[in-house]
Symmetry: C2
Subunit: 323 residues, 2 copies
DNA sequence: CTGAAAGCGCTTACAG
DNA sequence: CTGAAAGCGCTTACAG
């Protein structure tokens, strides 16, 4: 009835009737039913974001970004958690999350589970992906956004090289495809300086994995600089290093990735490269709106470029050590 | 039609027709519409969790717990973010999140915004709250779960006292009501030992707030032990302490709260008290199911009791210092 | 065991 | 500017 019009702000309602309707709504504490509205409109005003482990900083920040942007437009956020990269788990997550009348889905494809889920999303539902920048295949296939991790790693590595380190080791996060963008950037900075890249040490996502992966490297007195795949890994590496009696940054320099909220308070405060995941989340949502309504203007990207944040874990190699 | 029966696993379908239906579903990639199902059932199979800042460890872990439990039962999670404790913002969040046909809402009321939202939830929608244990008022009013923060703080404080510290300072997180449960536990441990509690230092939720709040305390050579409202605060306090030239734990002992994933890798590794937020999340969901269906057996609580995790930031006060 | 009918609470043309 | 009608895609009694 007319109620629908006033709730949806349709101008074709006279002031008096609008008043009466509003009053009635107040009085009976009427709340519209979301499912009924969604059903009749054929498309719901909620978007689901599919992601693995939401406690990792990057995912959490990106999720927050899309939530903020979505809420500003009156949209809701569902979360679809990817527990494992196994096909059965992926299918279950897809079945769970991909409603045909969904307002859209954004999948965070920073890891293997994410890209599998992305590729399993059934056609017909609005989709955007947050990708690793070097995932060319999916960038060609899906509307997507990405942060330039590769450039960021390049910059961080060059910073270490310019400080005078003969080479830089790398402890990496897992890759979403064949090769991690951060690994690529690190490698090319080394090559650009005429240095043969050592083999990167593959870790997981958390400090414990890094701590364990770094055990051997940490005893090698030749290593004076290490780039870590994220700030959590850096914490684990620093711990391993300190436990092995090596001082940061006097004996070895460490650089992280992300600039998580805790990084500035590590001991010593972590030199890292800031990644604007929240901005990227805003971009995800804006792009999703654009795919739903292709007539709308193509949204401007708001995510900031990666930025090296110089704090206290990277310094010139000490002379005494190098003798 | 019969399709509905096979999808919902109704046994009154013959094997052959079931086969045919399944085949058809496969062939046309049929996916049921969630909104239609929700509308006809009158209640949706998704629960929304309302919370402020999801990047804080406790909220994130609790959210993950309810997500896990919900997913196991085929439920979806919506998130309703509380940006500010202002009445207008609360109302907006409620309007946004409280659908009359919602499967229920769990509100994380660990702060003022949370308890306001809790109290603003309209009647008629299944509701459970995660509360501070000393929030008696709301515990009486709403089905709720809580972790025993007070006992945890008591234990941690007594640990410090038993180590030989003459007193313990406290840098606290904000309270959800008038007095924070962790503050209460700390205070009563002090009183039980015949010590007059100093005035606690009120900080925010993050390391920066703690760092700033601790500036004055840090220069006071009388302080030898401090209990922090959470692990992030502990990191900020340790940073302030170290910057002021005080060694941990030689000059001052520090204990945190939560046992976040990074705590074991702080330098030094943080002594803290582990809180089972994930388990609490499971309890939230189970209780919500019980609220929806009061005939179901009252669920057992799975959340573990708080547990002191002794690492390396708490030690006996050094004699030299005390002379 | 299977199908036809009504209804969930909205929205969207369509008449007045 | 306002109301009556049909329909969104399911589920739930109700007949066969």
């Amino acid at each position: 009835m007319t109620v629908s019009r006033v709730i949806n702000g349709n101008p074709n309602v006279s002031a008096p009737t609008r008043q009466r309707v509003m009053a009635a709504i107040q009085r009976m504490e009427y709340r519209p039913s979301r499912s009924a509205r969604d059903l009749s409109r054929g498309r719901s005003r909620s978007v689901t974001v599919m992601t693995s482990d939401t406690s990792l900083y990057g995912r959490a920040a990106l999720l927050r970004g899309v939530e903020e942007a979505a809420r500003a437009q009156g949209y809701h956020i569902n979360i679809g958690v990817l527990d494992s990269p196994h096909p059965a788990a992926i299918r279950a997550a897809i079945d769970h999350s991909c409603d045909p009348s969904s307002g859209g889905v954004v999948v965070i494809a920073f890891d293997a589970a994410g890209v599998r889920a992305l590729r399993a999303v059934p056609p017909g539902i609005p989709l955007v992906a947050a990708l690793e920048i070097n995932n060319l295949k999916d960038r060609r296939t899906y509307p997507s956004v990405a942060l330039d991790d590769r450039a960021a790693a390049f910059t961080a590595t060059r910073h270490l090289l310019e400080l005078g380190h003969p080479t830089v080791q790398h402890i990496s996060i897992p890759s979403s495809t064949t090769s991690n963008a951060r690994v690529q950037g690190w490698r090319s900075a080394l090559r650009a300086a005429g240095i043969t890249p050592p083999v990167p040490i593959q870790a997981g996502w958390g400090p414990r994995a890094a701590y364990e992966a770094a055990q051997r490297m940490v005893r090698d007195r030749e290593v004076t600089a290490v780039l870590c795949g994220n700030d959590d890994l850096a914490l684990g590496v620093i711990h391993a290093l300190q436990q092995a009696g090596r001082a940061i940054p006097d004996d070895v320099s460490v650089i992280g990735f992300d600039d998580s909220p805790l990084a500035a308070f590590y001991a010593p405060p972590l030199t890292t490269v800031r990644l604007d995941f929240v901005g990227l989340g805003h971009d995800c949502f804006a792009l999703l709106q654009h795919v739903v309504n292709p007539h709308s203007p193509r949204p401007e990207r708001v995510a900031q470029a990666p930025q090296l944040i110089v704090r206290e874990t990277a310094a010139a190699p000490s002379r005494s050590r190098r003798i």
